[in-house]
């Protein structure tokens, strides 16, 4: 077993373990806190896939920003006041079945398909290469993102503000 394989299994275990806590915990704040190791595990997987820039962004946005946003939203709605409440609806059994079926289906597809392996050597995925790709080939996506950001900012402010 190589170091990469060991790292992969540890990171996969961390990611999936925290995801299980996120999904099953009866305490919503515990769920939100468990998101952080989950996101960090995914970050590790990105690094194993040589995508270090994406990994940095994952920590900055997911672990640093979205988690804070979610925690704020929890504090703003119920805080810990609703901790005693029932967290799961009556569909738990059906939901578990559906999710398990989905997992089985996806795993079958993933393992049975003969994925074509790309040829060539792996280029270094530096921030510079990402920037080149963004500004040369994906310029429309790049500008489109800013519009999406603007629209969601406006929409979210309008929705969250008190009408008074």
């Amino acid at each position: 077993m190589t170091g990469e394989a060991i790292a992969f299994y540890i990171l996969a275990a961390v990611t999936l373990g925290s995801a299980v806590v996120v999904v099953t915990s009866g305490n919503i704040v515990h769920s939100a806190a468990a998101l952080v190791p989950g996101f960090l595990g995914v970050t590790g997987l990105y690094i194993l896939l040589n995508a270090e820039f994406v990994a940095g962004i994952q920590v900055l946005i997911y672990a640093g920003a979205i988690t804070v946003l979610i925690l704020f939203a929890i504090m703003l709605t119920e805080g810990g006041t609703g901790l005693g409440g029932r967290q799961r609806n009556e569909q738990a059994l059906v939901g578990a079945t559906v999710a398990a079926a989905m997992a089985v289906l996806l795993i079958i597809v993933a393992t049975r398909t003969g994925w074509t392996a790309g040829g060539g050597t792996l280029p270094p995925y530096t921030p510079g290469a990402i920037g080149q790709s963004f500004l040369r080939q994906n310029i429309l996506v790049f500008e489109g993102t800013s519009i999406v950001l603007l629209v969601s900012l406006m929409g979210a402010i309008m929705t969250a503000r008190r009408e008074d």
């Binding site: 170091g3 990469e4 790292a7 590790g44 690094i47 194993l48 040589n50 270090e52 820039f53 962004i57 900055l60 946005i61 640093g64 920003a65 979205i66 804070v68 946003l69 704020f72 939203a73 504090m75 703003l76 709605t77 119920e78 805080g79 810990g80 006041t81 901790l83 270094p124 530096t126 921030p127 510079g128 990402i130 920037g131 080149q132 963004f134 500004l135 040369r136 310029i139 790049f142 500008e143 993102t145 800013s146 519009i147 950001l149 603007l150 969601s152 900012l153 406006m154 979210a156 402010i157 309008m158 969250a160 503000r161 008190r162």
Partner: protein
């Protein structure tokens, strides 16, 4: 590159161990004496009323919302900053459009009072 991050991973693991070490030490050597007042929530000596976990004002959310949008904006600036000089004027104008749209967003948030602590 993986070697770099292997180092970082060891840094994080050993670091977590070193941060946890003093906690282990106090668990071993600290004195223990139980009386209920000691485990009361500290509220300047007055008996605690109710839970601390309560609802907060929506203004916290408004700020974190604008923050998330701008934080996402900045992740696009990093790769741009690295290559801007080699790409020349074109990259500059592209980024100007990008920034202008986001400044519009800031202006909107300002105008709508999302940046007021009321």
């Amino acid at each position: 590159m993986l070697l770099d991050w292997g180092y970082v991973a060891i840094f994080a693991l050993v670091g977590a161990g070193m941060v946890a070490l003093p906690l282990l030490i106090i668990w071993l050597i600290s004195p223990r004496s139980d009386y209920p007042q000691k485990f009361e929530t500290y509220e300047s000596g007055v008996p605690t009323i109710g839970q601390a976990w309560s609802q907060f004002h929506v203004r916290y959310y408004l700020f974190s919302l604008v923050f998330v949008v701008f934080d996402v904006e900045i992740i696009y600036l990093y790769p741009w900053a690295v290559v801007a000089r080699s790409l020349g004027a074109f990259a500059f104008w592209e980024m100007l459009v990008f920034l202008a749209i986001l400044v519009l967003g800031l202006a909107y948030a300002w105008r709508r009072g999302a940046l007021e602590w009321t």
